[in-house]
């Protein structure tokens, strides 16, 4: 996958920041959608993820010594239209189980890991390369964390997506 690798460490960290912020916002929006559809368990899980990604964003700001978020930071597309760490909006289902949500989170972290690995390979700037490798390692840790979390969560039943009722007032 082609990447326009950032030229400076500032540019790179701005992108990484944007990725975390977008991921956090996406988890928050998904949590709201799940809440509105009475899927409390998954809503809570997505909210936890939103907080975690939000923390990563704050860490980047602190690390870079930024007082305000970088202007016009955009998370680049990776393996599709969306940013590497954002769960695609169309992958959720109103009846999804926590295990499904963690699957999506896992996929997002794995995408992010691949993104940083590729970036490390394609950049010409040494400081960017080092930073990319560091972030890749962090994402790898996140992958492990999500896997561990998944192990504690029950597998969904075969008929998890079945709703005996038709859409509102269908009959």
């Amino acid at each position: 996958m082609k990447l326009n690798a950032p030229k400076t460490i500032e540019e790179f960290m701005a992108q990484a920041y944007a990725m975390e912020v977008e991921a956090a916002q996406r988890y928050s929006d998904l949590a709201d959608a799940m809440d509105t559809h009475n899927n409390r368990e998954v809503a809570e899980l997505f909210r936890k993820m939103a907080v975690i990604e939000g923390k990563h964003g704050t860490e980047i700001m602190q690390h870079m010594g930024w007082k305000t978020p970088p202007a016009n930071a955009v998370a680049p597309s990776w393996e599709g239209f969306e940013a590497a760490e954002s769960v695609p909006i169309d992958e959720v289902h109103y009846l999804m189980r926590p295990w499904h949500a963690l699957q999506l989170a896992l996929a997002a972290e794995q995408r992010a890991e691949r993104f940083f690995a590729e970036l490390a390979k394609s950049t010409t700037d040494e400081s960017v390369r080092k930073a990319a490798l560091e972030l890749q390692e962090e994402e790898r840790e996140h992958v492990e964390l999500v896997r561990a979390w998944m192990a504690k969560v029950p597998q969904p039943e075969k008929d998890w997506a079945e709703d005996p009722d038709p859409p509102r007032y269908d009959q």
């Binding site: 509105t36 559809h37 009475n38 899927n39 409390r40 109103y94 009846l95 008929d159 079945e162 709703d163 005996p164 009722d165 038709p166 859409p167 509102r168 007032y169 009959q171």
Partner: protein
């Protein structure tokens, strides 16, 4: 011609009212529908009303089911049972599920405590681990446990419920077996509750002795239309009328008719005018906003004397209003909302079964009188499902007075005694004419002449005013020097309220009007002979029916109104209270 409801004011229906609530895939709507079908198998009548949040799927939902020993078109005052598979946002239904200290709340202890608003009524809380029970039977759904429990509480034999599940089952045999087991588990659980739940079982008629129907008001209206002879429908989807159209689409095809989805309501009304001009009885169905759009077109049907039927499934207004809730607030518009002097027919079915009979009558009248007929149904009737005795076929069919081929000196708008002039159907030689919204001569030539205008206005008014509508214009019951007048879906609640009053020695006549326009002041005067006090009951904010009656009929001095807007239905108890206070003050 009578509606399906009990005509005599006997004691109130005996039965129970259950609310099944849940969210996000819990399947309460299906449980409610199956419970209703089980009721029919058990020789019991019933009514099911659905309510839900704004989400299209996964939202909080409740099936409100009344089971009784006779056909019912109102849910009554309170619920005997609130069974919630989970409590997600169910507190939003508190207004629609009134409970008392004699009610029972069944909830899954793993889903938390029932909301305070329900517990505060003093109802008895019975925990039932429905999810666990369903989990213990692999492949089963939790709503089956709920269904079994509710059916046992109603006193149904288990076989009646099983038959209902089987009849509608669309998934494989193994799933069926698992869910029947879950049903049995729920059934057994009810039997095992101590102390036993004190809800009297619903009295059953001879099970299976009579053929009965499970039908919604929307379906009934569509059926009545087809029975009456409608074969062409053009319409646009709108809540809560869409199901009527979706039922009619394949039904019409089966009888050789056709339904066309129009681009909007302006197209719909003009399309059916075109179809009717071509000789085919035509109909459309809509709700308030759509009816408003059709106003110009309905006027065209009046002026060109083209028969059409417009079913208005009323919902909360004004404007976009409350699309999924019922109200009787389109009355003013229906009886007077056209520009110019434009007489038209307006009818209102008073029960789900009556949706069939009244729509059939509307088709007959529209065709006979070559005029538009508006049928005021509403969301409550349209989207509720009931077990009914099959509505008798009145035998009324579309019977248009047609011009003979090559008739001598044919004049489309000839000034006849009755006001109805023969209508030439395209394809008939020698009697061609141009229909017109412009005022016209008897020969259908556009005219601004004062004599022609007067003549045609008289003709169009006379043909409706002089027609003998017979006894079906209203359902009249009881006697007394006081009368309650109502129309449409409130009729059932008012009927039960009047029965209660009667049992207390307060004698009140009930008039549930079916033909709202043209006004029948002489008939109402006759029905009000001996009556000195009148109360008008309706579900809208402005007292539209009261004002209409005062404007077009003779009422005794100081008529009073009991009216309030939707979204909550009028209940027998509140109407009874209003009647009692009114009679005491008199």
């Amino acid at each position: 011609m009578n509606s399906g409801n009990a005509k005599t004011l006997t004691a109130a229906p005996k039965g129970v009212a259950f609310a099944l609530a849940g969210s996000g895939g819990s399947g309460v709507m299906t449980a409610g529908t199956t419970l209703l079908a089980g009721a029919a198998n058990a020789g019991v009548y019933g009514l099911m009303v659905r309510t839900s949040g704004p989400q299209i799927r996964g939202g909080e939902a409740a099936a409100l089911v009344r089971l009784a020993d006779r056909p019912v078109d109102t849910l009554g005052d309170t619920f005997d049972l609130l069974l919630a598979i989970d409590w997600g946002n169910t507190h939003r239904f508190a207004d629609e599920v009134p409970l008392t200290a004699r009610s029972v709340i069944v909830g899954d202890p793993d889903e938390g405590e029932p909301p305070e608003v329900f517990l505060a009524t003093g109802a008895r809380y019975v925990p039932l681990p429905m999810k666990k029970m369903a989990k213990a039977i692999p492949g089963s759904w939790v709503n089956m446990v709920a269904l079994g429990f509710a059916g046992a509480m109603a006193g149904f034999p288990q076989e009646a419920l099983e038959a209902a599940v089987r009849a509608d089952w669309k998934r494989g045999e193994t799933a069926l077996a698992a869910n029947l087991a879950a049903l049995a588990a729920g059934f057994a659980a009810e039997r095992g509750i101590t102390p036993p739940i004190a809800v009297p079982p619903v009295p059953r008629t001879e099970a299976g002795a009579k053929q009965r129907w499970s039908i919604s008001g929307n379906e009934a209206a569509g059926f009545g239309a087809i029975r009456g002879g409608v074969r062409y429908v053009a319409a646009y989807p709108i809540t809560p009328a869409t199901e009527l159209l979706e039922w009619m689409a394949p039904a019409l095809a089966k009888v050789g008719g056709t339904l066309l989805q129009a681009e909007d309501e302006l197209a719909s009304i003009n399309m059916i005018i075109g179809g009717s001009f071509g000789g085919v009885p035509s109909l459309t169905a809509t709700a308030g906003p759509g009816l408003a759009l059709m106003a110009e077109g309905i006027g065209l049907a009046v002026a060109s004397e083209t028969p059409v039927v417009i079913v208005d499934v009323m919902r909360g207004g004004p404007s976009t209003g409350i699309p999924a809730k019922s109200e009787q607030s389109d009355l003013s518009f229906a009886v007077s909302g056209l520009h110019g002097d434009a007489p038209r027919l307006v009818l209102a079915p008073s029960s789900i079964a009556d949706c069939a009979t009244t729509t059939q009558w509307a088709v007959y009248l529209a065709e006979k009188l070559q005029a538009p007929a508006i049928v005021l149904s509403d969301q409550f009737l349209g989207q509720s499902r009931a077990i009914i005795d099959p509505p008798a076929d009145s035998g009324l069919r579309a019977e248009r007075l047609k011009a003979e081929a090559n008739a001598a000196d044919y004049k489309r708008y000839r000034n006849t005694e009755s006001g109805v002039s023969p209508m030439a159907v395209p394809g008939t030689p020698g009697v061609t004419y141009t229909a017109d919204g412009l005022e016209h001569t008897e020969a259908a030539v556009p005219s601004s002449n004062s004599r022609d205008h007067q003549l045609q206005l008289d003709k169009r008014e006379r043909k409706l005013a002089r027609f003998d509508y017979g006894d079906a214009w209203a359902d009249i019951d009881g006697d007394g020097d006081a009368a309650v007048i109502t129309f449409g879906s409130t009729s059932a609640a008012v009927r039960e309220a009047v029965a209660r009053a009667r049992a207390e020695g307060v004698h009140v006549r009930l008039i549930a009007m079916r033909l709202l326009a043209p006004a029948q002041p002489e008939k109402l005067a006759k029905a009000l002979e001996g009556v000195r006090h009148v109360m008008v009951v309706e579900q809208n904010h402005g007292g539209q029916f009261l004002r209409y009656l005062r404007g077009h009929f003779d009422l005794p001095a100081k008529p009073v109104g009991y009216h309030r807007p939707g979204p909550l239905p009028l209940r027998p108890g509140e109407v009874h209270k209003a009647i009692a206070e009114w009679r005491k003050a008199a």
